[in-house]
């Protein structure tokens, strides 16, 4: 299969016969193409109100008077230290012209090689030269403004689609001046009451041409207006299809390499920790308050019964057929505290050895995590690993480009982030060196099979002493979050190393269905004597495979 077909916009296929302008892309790492949008760069210089007491008048349209110089920190030098991870994956910071507040937002790579970047302030920029290394000639074209907190972008047939809080909109530059002037409401069949928590995250197009929306609840706890806490699909014809219920506070939505849709949900009521959840039509994703909107639709059949607060997810899932436990938990706060955007590596090796795996951002920790999933008994489950730390702001939007470049756009407004900057746009690239990492982790009837990116040292990797395992789960409850509960310590009894040294088979006594299995592999060394770059795996064992 062609993995590029799963990326939404068509991968390497040039879908844009019309040409309105010349692209000025130099030294791209990937696919320079004629520009579809003839755009013009932002020429206005920015000055802050710290220097001028009244409103400033910027050339070229939107004028913003800002009294907060600290918000515009693109000139602050990079705060982050070099780490062991840098040898394998490097963060390249794209300079943002002063005056532009690029709080993520959403990203969409365009067929002409530009990167569309949407912001929480409702601007959309088309960025030229985003692949350049070093990024010395990056140009930001101000394509649209005044939109309502854009958290989703998609592209089709000359139209740029965006998810605003209250509607999916498509836009186009009709008069050719480089700025969108035609804005059409594609669909607005859901409610919005005016609570800041009512975010709407939108996916790229799926293989059938749908945009999937993940709608946050009204507040942390409740759904006060139509379809809050639901996933909806918007068809190519602009029809809305109710798709899943039970969402709480999504931080991102996107597909895996097979085109199956996932979103991240965040720790809070009915969510013991942040997690990655699969979205298939009819799924109930765990937070019951939005289920009241089953009264608006029969598309998903009967309303799921309400789970028992204080129970466990895997216990309730046995009672409620529609309830789908998270495919992967991100233990809180070991892995992160605010799971966000996701992107799959469909580049077949251009982004390193983790082909077909998912990369998931964390806003609070300014990190990117890595997820390997498999299907057991027809449902996704799998493991997460730390992947890359030290981004500049709170990572929110992730976008994988075909050349193996992961774009990460961040914001820390209203939710502090380790990175420390108010916003950032960065690129994560593979240096070509393969880190010694766990490659995949698969559940077995009596343990796990763990594969590695390079051959292991049979002595250390073959010794049960090199592994420590702990299992736990969360209370599935109406109040906020959960500690780790029901802890056990499954024992790694036996380890078999494969002949090629790339896999180990762990025989584990005391696997716990429905638990996260935290595997510490501190003792494992590579054939070259190196420890693992990230030594801990967290496998969400919703189901134990049968023999």
């Amino acid at each position: 299969m062609d993995p590029s077909a799963k990326t939404g916009w068509g991968g390497g296929v040039d879908l844009f016969p019309e040409v309105h302008g010349e692209a000025i892309v130099k030294q791209s790492e990937s696919c320079p193409r004629p520009a579809r949008f003839a755009t013009r760069p932002v020429t206005a210089a920015f000055k802050s109100l710290a220097a001028l007491p009244s409103a400033l008048f910027l050339q070229g349209g939107l004028v913003l008077a800002v009294a907060f110089a600290g918000c515009l920190v693109s000139n602050v030098k990079a705060a982050n230290q070099p780490s062991a991870e840098d040898q394998y994956y490097q963060i390249i910071t794209i300079p943002i012209p002063s005056g532009i507040i690029l709080e993520a937002g959403a990203l969409q790579l365009l067929p002409d090689g530009k990167l569309a970047s949407a912001t929480r302030l409702g601007d959309i920029y088309l960025i030229e030269g985003a692949f350049e290394n070093p990024p010395a000639h990056v140009k930001f074209h101000h394509f649209a403004s005044g939109l309502h907190e854009v958290l989703g972008l998609a592209y089709r047939d000359g139209w740029l689609y965006c998810a605003q809080r209250g509607e999916v909109t498509r836009m186009k530059d009709v008069d050719g001046d480089g700025r969108a002037d035609r804005f059409e409401t594609v669909n607005d069949d859901w409610g919005i009451s005016g609570d800041y928590h009512e975010y709407a995250f939108g996916s790229h197009f799926d293989k059938d041409g749908n945009i999937w929306l993940a709608l946050c609840l009204t507040g942390s706890f409740t759904s006060e207006t139509d379809y809050r806490g639901w996933c909806l699909r918007i068809t190519p014809e602009g029809k809305m299809l109710p798709t899943c219920s039970g969402l709480r506070s999504p931080g991102g939505i996107g597909t895996n390499y097979l085109g199956d849709m996932f979103f991240t949900d965040n720790q809070g009521p009915w969510n013991g920790a942040c997690s990655l959840k699969h979205l298939a039509p009819g799924d109930f994703e765990g937070h019951p308050d939005g289920n009241k909107w089953f009264k608006l639709t029969e598309a998903l059949g009967p309303r799921p019964t309400t789970p028992q607060s204080g129970s466990r997810m895997f216990v309730e899932a046995k009672k409620i057929p529609q309830l789908k436990p998270p495919a992967v938990y991100f233990p809180y706060p070991k892995m992160g505290q605010s799971a966000s955007g996701l992107a799959s590596d469909y580049t077949r090796g251009k982004f390193g050895p983790f082909t077909n795996q998912l990369f998931v951002g964390d806003q609070t920790h300014s990190t990117v995590m890595r997820v390997y999933m498999e299907k057991i008994k027809g449902r996704y489950q799998g493991a997460c690993f730390m992947f890359k730390q030290g981004f500049d702001s709170g990572n929110l939007a992730l976008e994988m480009a075909p050349g193996g470049v992961l774009f990460v756009q961040g914001t820390d407004r209203g939710c502090g982030a380790r990175g420390g900057k108010a916003f950032a746009l960065q690129r994560l690239v593979w240096t070509g060196q393969v880190p010694f990492e766990v490659h995949e982790m698969r559940a077995q009837p009596d343990g796990f099979e763990v594969s590695f990116t390079e051959p292991v040292d049979p002595a250390t990797a073959g010794s049960p002493e090199s592994y420590k395992m702990e299992s736990y789960t969360y209370i599935y409850q109406a109040s906020y979050g959960s500690p780790e509960v029901d802890k056990t310590t499954p024992m790694v009894k036996k380890v078999t190393v494969s002949r090629d040294g790339l896999r180990v088979r762990l025989t584990v006594e005391g696997l716990e269905e429905g638990h996260i299995h935290e595997l510490d592999m501190s003792g494992v060394r590579s054939g070259k004597g190196q420890p693992l770059l990230h030594k801990t795996a967290y496998y969400t064992l919703n189901s134990i495979p049968e023999e």
Partner: protein
């Protein structure tokens, strides 16, 4: 260890075992099933139940013992009677003395008169009632009238500020929760099971009056000196509201609902139920006085300046025989006082008595702390070392103030595990005794105790947690170079760790959630704890949402103080301790962010006050502005001057609605803008927006970025194009409406105004409500019509189709 969310499984277990061991059985044959005695009976690991009961029942009031035992038992004093005490109604006194367990199930007061026969008992009750009424006088303060609104406030206060941590809630949590459990599958409200696990209130409506109860609530420590009932720092109005709510049976008035806008209902005066007016008979009172001494009442109840000793003969504590045939420990004593205890409680006391020599030895600091926390029921709210914390069903009543999105940290009182290591002793004392508050977002209030009640607690915490406290050897503020204070400021601000993203600072709002004010930190915390906490927050407060800025011990800010964690934390501490003189952190004060249209229109889609959650504001360079409501598909607001301040939505999480920044704001008619009216008398339809078939379709910008709004209804497409026209003083608006339909539409009207007064002007325009002039350019002979309908003046403009199109222009001058 204690979790932020105390492990519910263990609490459920605790509650269940508590119910099993204490409450599920009938206490005494022939009596109502009683609650066991106080929450102090909860079987807590590490707290000796028998010892706790000996203290809570104040057994040593009669059974004299040495000072060491007294100190260890920390006995609960009974309420004084007479001056300083509560004034009780005679009817309540009678029934309580007659059958204490029936009148107040769960009371710790023993039945002293049970051995008397019918007439004798009646006489004793009568005499004691007269005596006690004589002590305080029955002459009551002025009765108050019921007030629905106050009762409503009292109901909220009672269920939200912490009363129900000890006392039984009277309604399901879902009725109050601003958020705690959100979803409606909370366990069904079972008042009985709550009551059985609560400190009983008894029949208050019979017992007292609103003024009496209110003054008790204001200062409970004077009427209950040993502090089992702490003060919740109530203001007078709050105390009256709670009293009125608790005594609501005294009124026929129903509790107002929040939405009720009826004027507060003045009902009849509230008077105690089963009213009895008693004129003190001094002879009876004198006999009562003798009985008060001889039955032993005087052993427990102080009578103010009237000193009286109990003459009830009781064995010294050391000589007590737990197995004696007639003892107050027996289920059916003959003459000895009778207690409403469960068999388990009796057994617990017996086993403690069997080893009573232990009671002469002081408890270890940590056991002493647990013991006092159990007696004062601190465990109802706080966990410590894995013990206590709100039970699952009670936890639902803990809420945040307003809508602060702080998770459980915002609503559940903090764990006290290691609190002696964490807090400075002076702050501990301030919290317990002097209204020290660090969590204003928490609806539950930290109660205030008497120095006698908690004096030992502060010392106990410090001593019990000393093992870790001793590590507090880090240098004091003075060792930090003054230069580093500036780095501390930078670290706190948005160029550093951005602590102010979540934390308040010197009472300035944070940029996000209202987490604890940073300027309190050095007053509250020990420096060593602060240091360790910053390095790994979740190790010291499991489950906290506070992120670590030092993952794996390395600072995420390598550009400040060379990334040295020790220096950075010292600088933070030094700055926070001097924040008053060291200035506010960068990024804290957010100014106005005015959006200004210069040579093009500016669009602002957001939550706009007056134009809804899908407001689309348009600022024109001519300094006229509009806001279009994309849910209702109508022009909602017009105004002149400055456009809008975006600061609300561009700071923090951007919550709330923002209104126009300019002046002369005119609200345009609400409801559907177009309607088909079949006759002159047809009402303008009430439905609007999607319900009326309206659909937003977007907008098209012209060369100056001015939008033409596109929407539809009833298969009619509308183009709605507004431009601003400069004026002598202020700009006006010119609005072109174009409609398209495949089929001509008859009787279609545009409602240009709906208000109180519409006056036609000589120039053909209309003056609406005396403040805005509307003028229309219509095709052919069509003319606007003014009519009165549903109490409003309406200005209706006919829409006349010519073929598939209709058009009109509206000028708005104001």
């Amino acid at each position: 260890m204690a979790h932020r969310v105390v492990s519910r499984s263990s609490l459920t277990f605790l509650l269940a075992s508590l119910l099993n061991s204490c409450f599920s059985q009938t206490i005494l044959p022939g009596e109502v099933t009683a609650a066991a005695i106080g929450p102090a009976t909860a079987p807590l690991n590490g707290v000796n139940g028998g010892e706790l009961l000996l203290g809570e029942l104040n057994c040593i009031a009669c059974h004299q013992t040495e000072a060491a035992v007294n100190a260890r038992l920390f006995p609960r004093q009974s309420p004084p009677l007479g001056e300083g005490g509560l004034r009780l109604t005679p009817q309540y006194l009678r029934s309580f003395l007659n059958a204490p367990f029936a009148e107040k199930p769960g009371t710790t007061m023993p039945d002293l008169l049970h051995a008397l026969s019918g007439p004798q008992k009646a006489e004793a009750v009568e005499a004691l009632a007269h005596f006690i009424c004589w002590l305080k006088g029955t002459n009551n303060s002025n009765p108050v009238r019921a007030n629905q609104l106050q009762m409503w406030q009292g109901r909220l206060l009672y269920h939200q500020i912490g009363c129900v941590a000890c006392h039984s809630p009277q309604e399901a949590a879902a009725a109050f929760a601003s958020n705690p459990s959100g979803t409606g599958n909370a366990t069904p409200f079972e008042r009985r099971s709550f009551e059985n696990a609560s400190v009983p209130l008894g029949n208050l409506a019979k017992k007292t009056t609103v003024p009496e109860l209110s003054s008790f609530l204001m200062n409970p420590l004077s009427a209950r000196p040993s502090g089992r009932m702490p003060s919740l720092n109530l203001k007078e109005g709050e105390a009256t509201a709670i009293a009125m709510y608790l005594l609501r049976e005294q009124s026929s008035a129903s509790i107002a609902s929040q939405s009720a806008n009826a004027p507060s209902h003045q009902a009849l005066p509230m008077a105690p139920l089963e009213h009895e007016s008693l004129v003190v008979d001094l002879e009876k009172a004198n006999r009562g006085k003798d009985l008060f001494a001889s039955f032993g009442c005087a052993a427990c109840h102080q009578l103010g300046s009237l000193a009286m000793a109990s003459t009830l003969k009781a064995k010294a504590f050391a000589e007590l025989d737990a197995e004696a045939t007639d003892s107050c420990l027996g289920a059916t004593p003959q003459k000895a006082p009778k207690h409403a205890m469960s068999a388990q409680q009796r057994a617990a006391i017996k086993s403690t008595l069997a080893a009573r020599e232990e009671l002469s030895k002081p408890l270890s600091a940590s056991k002493q702390v647990a013991r006092i926390m159990a007696a004062l029921n601190c465990f109802a709210c706080h966990s410590r070392d894995g013990l206590g914390g709100p039970t699952a069903s009670r936890a639902e009543y803990f809420t945040v103030v307003g809508t602060a999105d702080l998770g459980d940290e915002g609503r559940i009182p903090p764990t006290l595990t290691g609190v002696g290591d964490k807090l400075r002793p002076e702050w501990l004392r301030a919290v317990l005794l002097n209204k020290g508050v660090a969590r204003p977002y928490m609806a539950t209030r930290m109660p205030q105790f008497s120095p006698a009640g908690v004096g030992r607690l502060t010392a106990g915490f410090i001593q019990a947690d000393a093992a870790v406290s001793e590590r507090d050897v880090s240098p004091q503020n003075d060792d930090v170079p003054i230069h580093d204070v500036g780095y501390g400021r930078k670290l706190v601000g948005t160029e550093g760790f951005s602590c102010i993203s979540c934390h308040l600072f010197a009472q300035h709002k944070s940029l996000g959630i209202p987490a604890m004010d940073l300027t309190l930190m050095t007053r509250r915390l020990k420096k060593d704890w602060f240091h360790r906490y910053l390095l790994d927050p979740s190790a010291l407060r499991p489950g906290t949402r506070m992120p670590s800025f030092f993952p794996e011990g390395k600072s995420v800010r390598q550009d400040i103080l060379k990334g040295d964690p020790g220096r950075q934390i010292n600088a933070l501490w030094a700055y926070l301790g001097r924040s008053k003189e060291a200035g506010l952190p960068p990024g804290l004060i957010q100014g106005k962010m005015e959006l200004v249209a210069t040579n093009e229109a500016v669009i602002y889609r957001n939550f706009i006050q007056g134009a809804g959650a899908r407001g689309i504001g348009v600022g024109y360079p001519e300094k006229a502005n509009i806001a279009f409501d994309a849910n209702e598909l109508r022009l909602a607001l017009i105004w002149q001057g400055p456009f809008i301040d975006a600061a609300r939505h561009r700071n923090g999480r951007g919550d709330g609605f923002e209104g126009p920044l300019g002046y002369n704001v005119v609200k345009m008619p609400a409801g559907a803008p177009f309607a088909i009216l079949t006759g002159a008398a047809s009402k303008w339809p009430e439905v609007s927006g999607k319900k009326a078939g309206y659909q937003m379709q977007g907008y098209q910008l012209d060369g100056q970025r001015r939008p033409t709004f596109l929407y539809s209804f009833a298969n009619i497409g509308v183009e709605d194009y507004v431009v601003a026209v400069s004026g002598d003083l202020d700009a006006s608006l010119r609005r072109a409406l174009s409609l398209q339909s495949e089929h001509p539409v008859e009787n279609l009207w545009f409602r240009a105004w709906a208000g109180t007064k519409i006056e036609p002007q000589r120039d053909g325009s209309f003056l609406a409500d005396g403040r805005i002039k509307l003028h229309f350019e219509l095709a052919g002979a069509a003319k606007p019509a003014v009519r009165q309908s549903e109490g409003k003046s309406e200005l209706l403009v006919p829409i006349v189709f010519q073929g598939k199109k209709a058009a009109l222009v509206e000028e708005l001058v104001w």
